[in-house]
Amino acid sequence: MKGLQIVVLGSIVPDPLQTLEPIAGPTGPALKNELMLPAVLDPWAGHALYEAASLAKKVEGKVYLVALGPKAKLQQVMMNVAQKVPFEIVVLDGPAGGFADATETAKALAGAVEKIPGLDKSKLLVFGGWQSASRGTGAVLQMVGEMLGITDQFQGVDELVLAEDGSFTVLERIEGGCYQKSACQGAPALLGWATGNLPEPPNNPQVGMQNMRLIMPALAKATPSPLKGEGLRYASVEVPSQRRDTRIVKDAPVDDIARELADWIRA
């Protein structure tokens, strides 16, 4: 099937190696030094973007990345992401943190998708991460799908195989390390990606330059999307203190360690 339009929904999250600390902000909880923390593209959104680009290359399709986040941080992250694969970005300038409301986020994203010029829903695949490293609700994609009228949805996807006629098969993760295999007649459909099968593409400066020609104007005309969080109250947010008294067993014979472990496992 030629000419698929693949819309990837994804945003930024704090670099996973950073230590995160909650603070009380004027509109609810936030992260300490949130705007100073190094950010990366959400790992699951990244998998979705790379899978989208790979698929688009095969079907002469086009990839859009619809991102809701603070545009200054998005610009920083896009300097790197833009070098990975070709895409066109749609920017919504608003909060990307984990404390925003999923429904409000979904409404903003669905509205942005609807406004993509030339959008043809009969050729539309909506991609995104089935989870995120911020809120991690796994809810936004489903709601965006519903708002767009897409009722063929898949979550925890690791593989999508497209046939000539536009139909496709999907492998979704289910419990116990198993996959559920489904066949769908074709677009429109929504897929929440797990890790997929593709490695992170190497940086390609040429792709980066092509992308940045569109990214900078898109950032400049980013739609303000403040999320009010109305009706949602946080009674508390805290980092759990779970420091354990670690007993360190050093210079002990292997046999003794193994015996102690065996007793512990059997108990």
């Binding site: 790992p43 991690g136 559920q180 949602l232 496992i265």
Partner: protein, 331 residues
């Protein structure tokens, strides 16, 4: 307040453990309890919880609802939720229920919060507890909006046991979908390495794939030792991202996939005990171990930032040697 417990039956018609736990969470809210069940067949599941105190049982059943599929499951849940007119809707966080929960909430105009680890009613308010930023922060939330649909993580509530005989009002639902579930791909029984119900989680870290003191990598030995431990203990296997990535490049353990990954970019499994081997690194690993009760670790660094203060016992030893002896003892 009307509370609807909404869940799917399993392939054998019964109600799964995660669902029975979510039912306990729903019951704990007080109010008028109702039950909605969907699947190929629901009577067996309804009978399993007939004595839970529900005022009404709704059901959607048939071949169309036998498998986990967004279009059919969402239609079934929507129909039962509308019939019940509930203020609170509680679902389990199984892969099947999680696939549709937020979509159903959208159809109902409901607020939604997923993967709760706590849910309680006090002083006329309902407070939900969930983790943020991949299990790094714990938050308590309240909402004004009703209906409010929530999903509840497994392992947080005791499973409800209340067998009896239930009268189920069956609803007719015609799902709109262009999707057909064609099967489940499961590893062979003897190749199964992810076991959510196992007592022990064994985590293999990147150290297994590193050069050993003799200057060589011993990947074959590492593979056979880990597999022999799995066979001896019937535990579940997890791994760090770095080792999984190595495996994907054909450089490490062939049986590892991204589904084994625990931590910041993987799962956060719940097991009674956890044994980490050759794992290093701090925050990302801690995230993966958040819900492990008793934790022990084997690695060569007594000052390892991940083990210090996070594990109960740290054995500073060669994991190859300990694993070999341990597998022998547990055979």
């Amino acid at each position: 307040m009307k509370v609807l417990f909404l869940a799917h039956s399993e392939a054998d018609g019964s109600l799964g453990k995660a669902a029975c736990e979510a039912l306990t969470a729903a019951k704990g809210l007080g109010g008028e309890l109702m039950v909605g069940l969907y699947g190929a067949e629901v009577q067996k599941a309804a009978d399993q919880i007939a004595g839970c105190g529900a005022a009404k049982f709704y059901g959607v059943a048939g071949g169309e609802f036998a498998t986990a599929r967004y279009g059919s499951d969402a239609s079934a849940c929507e129909a039962m939720a509308k019939a019940a007119g509930a203020d609170m809707i509680v679902m389990p966080s199984t892969s099947r229920a999680s696939r549709v929960a937020a979509g159903v909430a959208q159809r109902l105009g409901a607020a939604v919060d997923t993967r709760l680890t706590g849910l309680e009613a006090a002083d006329g308010k309902i407070v939900a507890t969930r983790w943020f930023y991949r299990q790094r922060m714990l938050g308590k939330i309240e909402r004004d909006a009703r209906p409010w649909l929530v999903t509840v993580d497994s392992g947080c509530f005791a499973a409800c046991e209340a067998a009896g005989s239930a009268a189920v009002e069956m609803l007719n639902v015609a799902p709109a979908t262009r999707t057909t579930v064609t099967g489940v791909i499961a590893p062979a029984a003897d190749a199964q390495t992810i076991r959510p119900d196992a007592k022990l989680l064994l985590v293999a870290g990147a150290g297994w794939g590193k050069t050993q003191p003799d200057g060589q990598k011993h990947l074959d030995d590492a593979s056979s030792l880990i597999l022999s431990l799995l066979a001896a203990t019937q535990c579940s296997l997890g791994s760090s991202k770095s080792l999984v990535d190595q495996s994907g490049e054909g450089a490490a353990l062939p049986f590892l996939t991204h589904m084994h990954q625990v931590g910041q970019t993987g799962s956060t499994p719940r097991h009674q005990k956890g044994l980490a081997t050759c794992c290093h690194g701090e925050e990302p690993h801690v995230v993966g171990w958040r819900f492990i009760g008793e934790r022990r670790a084997i690695n060569l660094d007594a000052g390892c930032g991940w083990a210090q203060g996070k594990a109960d016992v740290l054995y500073v030893a060669d994991a190859f040697a300990v694993a070999k002896k341990l597998a022998e003892l547990l055979k």
